[in-house]
């Protein structure tokens, strides 16, 4: 068996995944701390205030990466959920549902920072602007996935139902986004495209560092949640008993 396939099979086994994720998590936390420290330093102290928005532009370093994460995590949930449904890999079920609270939290952060940013720049906390609205709908989708998971008693069935809902939601998400965009927009367009960005490097670097930091945070938080969920689901199984016995010695 080649190494990649072996790795893939190993990761599908809960005890192996538990140990592997446990080793990986501290590195992910370290990555988050280092990147966010650099990103926040550059963003809060070394980048210039905006010529129109003043100091309030610094909210961007939280707002934009959080909004990116909110969409990326939902897409990832759909991909992992698809794998979980098709190949019935339990780790993937656990990862799908463990992503949902993190994604919902990022969506909430994007909404709250966005509304705080909107007050000084647009003069209002909330407008029914396209991007705000589609972010709010995204939050409802996250809540729907989590509520569906919690409504089932049997965890594996619950995770598969949530995975299916994530897939349906992810197919609809671009449609929702574009329909809302077309409906009403006040928000500035995206400053990024495939050909480059329209942001000055002094602002771009902290933004990208924060985006990287948030990805590490997601990874660390996700693995922590997934490990805990595995322990709970398998608490009667031997590997958990052995693990607990080993720790109490």
């Amino acid at each position: 068996m080649n190494r990649f396939v072996l790795f893939f099979h190993k990761t599908g086994s809960p005890p192996w995944f538990y140990r592997f994720a446990g080793k990986l998590t501290p590195w992910l936390w370290a990555g988050f701390v280092v990147l966010s420290a650099c990103g926040l330093y550059l963003g809060l102290f070394r980048s210039p205030p905006d010529y129109q928005q003043g100091e309030s532009v610094r909210i961007m370093y939280l707002h934009v990466p959080a909004a990116w994460m909110s969409m990326m995590i939902f897409a990832l949930m759909a991909v992992m959920g698809f794998i979980a449904l098709v190949w019935r890999i339990r780790i993937m079920e656990v990862l799908t549902i463990s992503s949902a609270p993190v994604g919902a939290a990022f969506t909430l952060i994007a909404l709250i920072t966005g509304s705080l940013w909107g007050r000084p720049t647009w003069g209002t906390y909330w407008v029914w602007d396209a991007r705000l609205t589609s972010e709010l709908v995204l939050l409802f989708l996250y809540i729907g996935v989590i509520a569906l998971y919690n409504a089932y008693d049997e965890p594996r069935k619950a995770a598969r139902a949530a995975a299916l809902m994530a897939i349906v939601g992810a197919i609809n998400l671009p449609i929702i986004h574009f329909s809302v965009l077309w409906w009403n927009t006040l928000h500035q367009g995206s400053s990024f495209s495939a050909t480059g960005s329209s942001i000055h490097p002094s602002m771009l670097w902290p933004l990208l560092l924060m985006a990287g930091a948030f990805k590490f945070y997601y990874g660390a938080n996700l693995l922590g949640r997934a490990r805990l969920r595995l322990l709970k689901q398998d608490h009667r199984k031997r590997w958990v008993q052995e693990l607990l016995a080993g720790e109490s010695d």
Binding site: G144, L148, L164, M165, V168, I175, I176, S179, W183
Partner: protein, 227 residues
């Protein structure tokens, strides 16, 4: 035992579901009465000014249609799930997507079509200008099947849950957002004398996409609920 052909099975399912719907006709009337009551509440709540009502008419009628559909969706698979019929259907060897599609078709005919037929009356109540009425009816004709199709996924996901009804609305309302936007904007455009074919075309495209994809998603959800 040989399996009946797909078309035979489909027609048999349609007839069965129709018969069941006919025997439970008072139950079918409830969402429609609900629709009428909700529409009645709006003039009482926002005031009877004809201009104001005309402005909000497309949105109010469509939102009421959404609410009425979700109300009727909860029972889509429930009784068959509870008495084991659904399990037998799944074991029959016929594709579950076909069974789901038959159920969705009947649901639209008994829950969606009456809304379409009632809509001119609702437009009259809400003082919608004449130019908007045909477009409202058209948007409902092609839009209400989408409500049934997407709603069926939610209904199948929540059928095995005790209190699925509330969860169902939480699951499907976000998915209805594009439809609501397109439909109400088509009606408003028609009232303003602007072209509205683009919006209707997009709804139609959405309907075709939902018609091809939703039965399979519903089948997957049913399979999960039965497991």
């Amino acid at each position: 035992m040989s399996r009946p052909a797909l078309a035979t099975a489909f027609v048999a399912l349609l007839r069965r579901d129709f018969l069941l719907a006919y025997r439970r006709r008072t139950e079918l009337l409830q969402p429609l009465v609900f629709l009428l009551v909700v529409i009645t509440l709006f003039p009482l709540g926002v005031g009877p000014s004809p201009q104001l009502l005309a402005n909000i008419a497309p949105g109010v009628i469509w939102i009421a249609a959404l609410l009425a559909t979700v109300l009727s969706l909860d029972s889509l698979f429930r009784s068959d799930y509870e008495d084991g019929t659904l399990e037998q259907m799944a074991l029959s060897g016929q594709p579950l997507a076909l069974i789901a599609l038959a159920r969705i078709v009947v649901h639209w005919l008994v829950a969606g079509l009456p809304i379409v037929l009632l809509s001119p009356l609702l437009a009259l109540w809400m003082n919608l200008p004449d130019a908007g009425v045909p477009v409202l009816v058209k948007s409902l004709v092609i839009g209400t099947p989408v409500l049934s199709l997407i709603g069926a996924i939610g209904a199948a996901l929540t059928v095995s849950l005790k209190r699925g009804g509330q969860l169902l609305s939480l699951l499907v309302f976000p998915l209805y957002v594009p439809l609501l936007i397109l439909a109400t904007s088509a009606v408003s455009a028609a009232v303003a004398g602007l072209p509205y074919n683009g919006q209707l075309g997009l709804i139609l495209a959405g309907m075709i996409a939902a018609l091809t994809l939703a039965p399979f998603a519903t089948a997957a959800a049913l399979k999960l609920s039965l497991s």
